[in-house]
């Protein structure tokens, strides 16, 4: 593929991306659909973070739903019980999750592989109990709900001169649009973060530790620093996602089933999109979220049952089967699969007449 063609493709993709994500999603869709996109974005953020830990660094965690929850509760409690504005709660959630992630990362140093996965499972299962005990939520439950005013679009833009203020009002005026754009901006920033990490020395250390810990140590990589930082960063991302979810769901909640399912969702997004790739997890998140939505709202199977409502029972099975099929077809994830596809196409084009060899002239 010649450089000029590549450039054109890149430009087209970029323009399409800006149009779709910058304009089309929030301006041309009903609020429920915008919320779905926002959900895909913040699940993508969490998955991207998990990828740092699991994809690049090889530490499998099925407990990141707990960090997500921690971020969600931090934001929800600061807003509803302490009257904070929403946006400042996000850095607090990030910082708190980073610290807690580091704290958890330390004992995780000695625990490897599937044992680590199980310890993190413990985290996912314990977190809801902790909220039951320590969170004084609505109606005596561990649910922290927010009122519309608390997640509403902030009115800072009224300080700007009229044309700009009007522009913002029209584009970001609705709550769902505001939530979407805020999430989009954070997603882009955090994606850039992973992009830079992947190219940095730290990124190479992550991979080195994943592939061969002992060897990495002998070349001078500080194992503890790398692994704990990976944990902390992944927790930060998950916490950010949790925080943003409060804008969409207007609540922070934790239950054993929900927290576990979230943890699995992040992991699935990483694998489906492509582990150890920058954009893979985000793409995987979109697939997982939209797939689940389409499955939950499908009607076609209702005719199989005498009671159409029974068909809803199959939703988890449909999703499970879809996951299995995805793993068969794309075990390297979508990004990994595309790479293989490109490689194969490259090979085919090289099967064109072999270059003249000095021996056959």
């Amino acid at each position: 593929m010649s450089p000029r063609v590549r450039l054109v493709v890149a430009l087209v993709a970029a323009v399409a991306g800006v149009y779709v994500f910058g304009y089309w999603v929030a301006q041309q869709n009903a609020p429920s659909d915008v919320r779905l996109f926002t959900q895909a974005l913040y699940v993508g953020i969490a998955a991207t973070g998990l990828n740092i830990l699991t994809g690049y660094n090889g530490q499998v965690s099925i407990g990141h739903g707990a960090f997500f929850g921690l971020g969600a509760y931090t934001s929800a409690i600061l807003v509803s019980e302490h009257g904070w504005n929403f946006v400042p709660t996000i850095p607090v959630a990030m910082a708190l999750c980073f610290v807690v992630g580091a704290l958890i990362g330390f004992p995780a140093l000695r625990v490897k592989g599937l044992y680590l996965a199980l310890v993190t499972l413990g985290l996912a299962v314990l977190f809801p109990d902790l909220t039951d005990r320590f969170v004084n939520g609505t109606g005596g439950t561990n649910l922290v709900t927010l009122r519309g005013a608390e997640v509403a679009v902030p009115d800072w833009y009224v300080w700007f001169p009229d044309p700009i203020a009007d522009f913002f009002d029209e584009w970001v005026g609705a709550q769902d649009q505001w939530a979407y754009y805020l999430t989009l901006v954070l997603a882009l920033v955090l994606l850039l973060g992973v992009f830079l990490i992947a190219r940095s020395r730290f990124g190479r250390s992550l991979i080195a530790v994943r592939d061969h810990e002992a060897a990495a140590e002998t070349v001078g990589i500080d194992l503890a620093r790398v692994k704990v930082t990976a944990f902390a960063l992944s927790a930060l991302y998950a916490g950010t996602a949790g925080s943003l979810s409060v804008l969409v769901n207007r609540l922070a909640n934790a239950g054993k089933v929900e927290t576990f399912q979230l943890s699995i969702e992040f992991l699935v997004a990483v694998v489906v999109g492509g582990a150890a790739t920058v954009f893979g997890p985000m793409l995987g998140a979109f697939i997982v979220v939209f797939l689940r939505d389409r499955i939950d709202n499908q009607d076609s199977l209702s005719d199989l049952f005498s009671d159409p409502n029974r068909a809803k029972l199959l939703s988890p099975a449909l999703f499970g089967i879809a996951l299995i099929i995805l793993m068969y077809v794309l075990p390297d994830g979508i990004v990994g699969g595309s790479r293989r596809l490109v490689r194969r196409l490259g090979r085919r084009s090289r099967r064109a007449p072999a270059p003249a060899s000095p021996l056959t002239s």
Partner: protein
């Protein structure tokens, strides 16, 4: 004192429940190297089959036997048709597939067998004995007995038979095993079949003691079973049993004596696991793998 012993008995009673499923988890891991998230739901499905058979009038012990046999076949079939295509992929991919299996089996069980809670009868008389103020339940004794038999049979199979040798060989080094003529595929199927059978026994014996069978019956047990297996070491059947007992007893005693942890008793078993893993990274009885640089 009687209270302490009673709680201890409770802990043992719960512990053997976790151990029963943990044994299946350990067996799958030992023979295929996979962490099987779907083990609980496979056991759930088997238990529903047992229940269905008893509903049709078959005696309980016969229903269990049939269910075990069917589960063996089912487990082998799952390995052949669901897991085989991804067996060479990364462990993460395999985990995702087992998760897909988990979701599917749970949902299918509800569709096929209904959503209402059902009573599964016991295969033995439901007796309790009062020994010095401590209630000992037949349920606990039966499970302990069954676990002991399973452990002995497994040990005999894996350590003393040619098939057992082949199973272990395939788990340790599939390529070399293939070279010496071991049918890797068959061994993997055997491993899954055995684990499914053990899961069927676990479910069919445990669920009657938990008052009713629902789609959620295996989920909390699974979490504790994983904890038990991690504590004991994933490649040790004995570890699974010991781990289960420790988790069960720790839970019971904490509930009784540590009021400060009211509502968050789960901290204890998972804290224990973390503690054990810090000092013995492969669990209490697991084998640590030595790496050559």
């Amino acid at each position: 004192m009687a209270l302490f012993l009673s709680q201890l008995m409770n802990g043992i009673g719960q512990g053997v429940i976790y151990a029963s499923l943990a044994l299946a988890l350990v067996l799958i891991y030992k023979t295929t190297g996979i962490l099987n998230f779907a083990q609980g739901e496979m056991a759930l499905f088997s238990t529903y089959v047992t229940w269905w058979l008893t509903e049709r009038g078959l005696p309980v012990w016969l229903s269990i036997l049939i269910s075990v046999a069917l589960s063996f076949g089912g487990g082998a079939a799952i390995e052949r048709f669901v897991m085989r295509p991804v067996e060479r992929s990364s462990p993460l991919v395999i985990v995702i597939v087992t998760i897909g299996l988990f979701l599917s089996l749970n949902s299918l069980a509800q569709v096929i067998f209904g959503v209402e809670a059902e009573v599964v009868p016991r295969a033995y008389p439901d007796e309790n004995w009062d020994i010095g103020g401590v209630i000992v339940q037949a349920d606990t004794l039966v499970l302990v007995g069954v676990l002991a038999v399973e452990c002995i049979l497994l040990w005999a199979l894996l350590q003393k038979t040619k098939i057992g040798l082949a199973l272990r060989a395939v788990a340790s080094n599939p390529e070399s095993s293939r070279l010496v003529g071991v049918s890797v595929g068959t061994m993997l199927m055997l491993g899954w079949g055995l684990a499914a059978a053990i899961g069927a026994v676990a479910g069919s014996l445990v669920v009657p003691t938990t008052t009713a069978l629902t789609a959620a019956s295996m989920q909390s047990i699974l979490v504790f079973a994983f904890a038990a297996a991690a504590l004991g070491g994933f490649d040790s059947p004995l570890g699974a049993v010991v781990g289960g007992l420790i988790v069960g007893v720790a839970n019971s005693l904490t509930t009784e004596y540590v009021d400060a942890l009211d509502g968050i008793e789960l901290i204890v078993p998972f804290g224990l696991i973390l503690l054990v893993l810090l000092f013995r990274p492969a669990g209490l009885f697991g084998k640590v793998h030595v790496e050559r640089v």
